[in-house]
């Protein structure tokens, strides 16, 4: 692995599962033995307001916050949040939008966060099984099936 840090920003509104997906994403790369940092905001911002979190992984990560212009992947849970983060993107930032997911195929629309993780996972160096294992170990059992299906749907989307 090179010294390059991979930086991912996940953005949505409070209640859309931004924190849960951030936790899963960070855990997947933590288990690969990499240095991982995540930064997120709790409290006031979670009352339905705009919320985002940063995950960075690589050989050695210092700041938990992604510097402007260094976002590799911007994952949006809601399209209208893009203007908030556009200025921090670079010409090579890959932006994953919910429009890429056929939401009619989501058994529960609250699992959009897992579908977006599935979409993101196509571009990151970890096998699907590593993601699914963390998803299963993070969420309560009764939610496994619906969330795994959402992840698989996202992983097959383009």
């Amino acid at each position: 692995m090179s010294d390059k840090i991979t930086s991912i920003k996940i953005a949505g509104l409070g209640g859309m599962g931004v924190l849960t997906s951030t936790q899963i994403l960070a855990e997947v790369f933590f288990r690969q033995g990499l240095d991982v940092k995540k930064a997120e905001v709790h409290g006031m911002s979670q009352r339905g307001g705009s919320i985002c979190s940063d995950v960075r992984f690589g050989k050695k990560v210092f700041s938990p916050m992604i510097p402007a212009g260094e976002i590799d992947f911007l994952v949006l849970f809601q399209d209208d949040q893009l203007p908030l983060y556009e200025a921090e993107c670079s010409p090579v930032t890959l932006i994953a939008r919910p429009a890429a997911i056929d939401c009619t195929k989501l058994e529960n629309k609250k699992t959009l966060n897992m579908a977006m993780l599935g979409l993101l996972s196509r571009h990151l160096p970890a096998p699907a099984e590593a993601w699914l294992k963390v998803i299963r170990e993070t969420l309560p059992e009764k939610l496994h099936k619906v969330n795994e299906a959402a992840f698989e749907l996202g992983r097959k989307s383009v």
Binding site: G14, M44, M65
Partner: protein
């Protein structure tokens, strides 16, 4: 021990557990709220106290029994607990006493940006500043050791970014064979009357002198040799930004910020061509180094506001004072759809009330579209401010003033305000609404003395608001469900506003999030 991926707050909880803390007491406040819950889940004994002052007193009592205690709070909580801190610094402790205090530069969820390092100086207690979860773990453990060795309270100062960032932690072996709790009578040390406090103050200054010397020689400070051209003195999470913004620079990272390792800081500053102090919030270290005769650059005033990040550190180093780009505003937080507070504030708005508000989710009622709260300062202020307004406003205006406080905030700081209201009664009387949603909603649904459940949700005594209010001799007391009985509630409010008497209306309806969490409405979301 295996490596773990932990938030700063989780790392503090694990550190306290491995340090053998006998009890943790606190009051929830973002960004500190998760620490005690995690400590409890890991097997530690933890409690929510009515407020930070009581929490600090409980922890002091535990430490007087010769064992290790800690207390958690957000930065403004230390204002409430300051009375304990300043004199516990004199009395000292028998076991250990650690204050975990979380600052909020950038005001992610607070009413101010106060800098806890100033408290360390004012009270005369050591303060350490972790920069990531590993240090949150290590420094918490070290704080217990320092506290026990010098018999002095120690502050671990966190910030929102340290509390809520996840980084890797390698835990170390837990302590074992700590002494059992036992009370050793020591009246001159435990009773701070003037005759005992005078020598106690001298003992405190002697301890601080010794700790300063220890900090110079073996404190948790770190020197990274880099360029001779640029040296950066830094503390807290800003260290991480500095290493990324200026990888070539020499760095002196301050881990214990009070007492400062000043000799080392001066030597370091003199060893490089240009020395720059980078710190969040107040220019505390920069001022101290200059007062000691050091020559350093520091951040222009504009960087005192808000958090630092890699980009801002680069700007500071470049001396860039051009206006910073204003980030676009996202969707602001708001009361949840179906929140019972919404109904209450719609009614207050309809009657053109002047609302002296308080701290909790319901503070969101001050924002559009409701815009139905007129003042909010600190925990419990709704009562005093409302009464003050009633005393001096012209009669017709005074009669529109209503104080509004949540259940947890009422227990935290409203009881004394209620005593004020029933003691110094304004000429037009007064109206207080206690919004009882049966939880500390804003910070994540923690229990409190009014819920009848302990931190771990097991049952205990429940504070009865009606009885308390009646015991304070309020003549008019009513209880309403704002969702089921909006008309009855509105009628009672109008009657109360018309009377020149004291009225307390308890507006009772559980928080919809708390109801959902208890499994009534399971969330499918991941």
């Amino acid at each position: 021990m295996e490596r773990q991926f932990l938030m700063g707050n989780e790392a503090v909880a694990l550190g306290a557990l491995h340090a053998g803390a006998a009890r943790g007491a606190g009051y929830p406040g973002t960004p500190s709220s998760e620490i005690l819950d995690v400590f409890n889940k890991l097997g530690g004994k933890a409690e929510w106290s009515p407020n930070e002052k009581v929490a600090a007193e409980v922890a002091l009592g535990v430490s007087f029994a010769g064992v290790r205690a800690f207390t958690t709070m957000k930065h403004v909580g230390l204002n409430v607990a300051a009375d304990v801190l300043f004199t516990a610094a004199y009395s000292g402790v028998d076991g250990a006493l650690v204050f975990i205090v979380a600052d909020d530069p950038g005001l992610a969820s607070s009413q101010n940006e106060q800098d806890t390092r100033r408290y360390a100086v004012a009270a005369g207690v050591p303060l350490v500043e972790p920069s990531d979860s590993q240090e949150a773990y290590d420094f918490t453990r070290m704080a217990f050791e320092i506290s026990e060795r010098w018999k002095i309270p120690v502050i671990v100062k966190l910030t929102t970014r340290v509390c809520h960032s996840g980084t890797i932690v390698m835990p170390s072996k837990p302590v074992s064979d700590l002494p059992k709790a036992h009370f050793e009578r020591n009246i001159p040390y435990h009773v701070m009357v003037p005759g005992h406090a005078r020598p106690a103050h001298r003992r405190l200054r002697q301890k601080l002198a010794e700790i300063a010397e220890w900090n110079e020689k073996e404190g948790p400070n770190q020197k990274i040799q880099g360029s001779k051209e640029l040296g950066i003195l830094v503390s807290g999470v800003a260290y991480q930004h500095v290493r990324e913004a200026a990888p070539e620079a020499s760095v002196f990272k301050v881990g214990m910020s009070y007492p400062l390792p000043m000799r080392q800081m001066l030597d370091f500053s003199a060893s490089v061509k240009r020395a720059v102090v980078i710190e969040e919030n107040d220019p505390y270290m920069a001022d101290a180094v200059r007062a000691a005769g050091g020559v350093v650059d520091s951040a222009p005033e504009m960087y005192r506001f808000g958090e630092l990040d890699v980009g801002r550190v680069k700007r500071i180093l470049a001396g860039d004072t051009t206006p910073e780009a204003v980030p676009p505003r996202g969707k602001p937080p708001q009361l949840c759809a179906g929140c019972p507070h919404t109904v209450t504030f719609e009614i207050l708005k309809r009657h053109n009330c002047i609302v002296a508000g308080d701290i909790g989710c319901y503070t969101l009622a001050a924002l559009q579209p409701l815009a139905a709260m007129d003042t909010q300062i600190c925990m419990g202020a709704s009562l005093g401010v409302g009464v003050g307004l009633r005393h001096v406003l012209p009669r017709e205006e005074a009669k529109r003033v209503v104080s509004v406080i949540g259940d947890s905030t009422f227990v935290h700081s409203g009881l004394t305000g209620l005593a004020e209201m029933t003691y110094n009664v304004p000429p037009t009387g007064h109206v207080l609404l206690i919004l009882d949603n049966a939880t500390t909603a804003m910070t994540g649904q923690q229990e409190h003395p009014g819920t009848g459940r302990l931190l771990d949700h097991t049952p205990t005594n429940q504070l009865d608001y009606e009885t308390v209010v009646r015991a304070m001799n309020v003549p008019n007391v009513g209880v309403f469900d704002p969702v089921r009985q909006p008309a009855e509630f509105e009628k009672a409010l109008v009657e109360a506003l018309e009377k020149d008497e004291l009225t307390v209306l308890i507006v009772r309806r559980p928080c919809i999030l708390a109801v959902a969490r208890k499994g009534v409405k399971p969330a499918a979301q991941g």
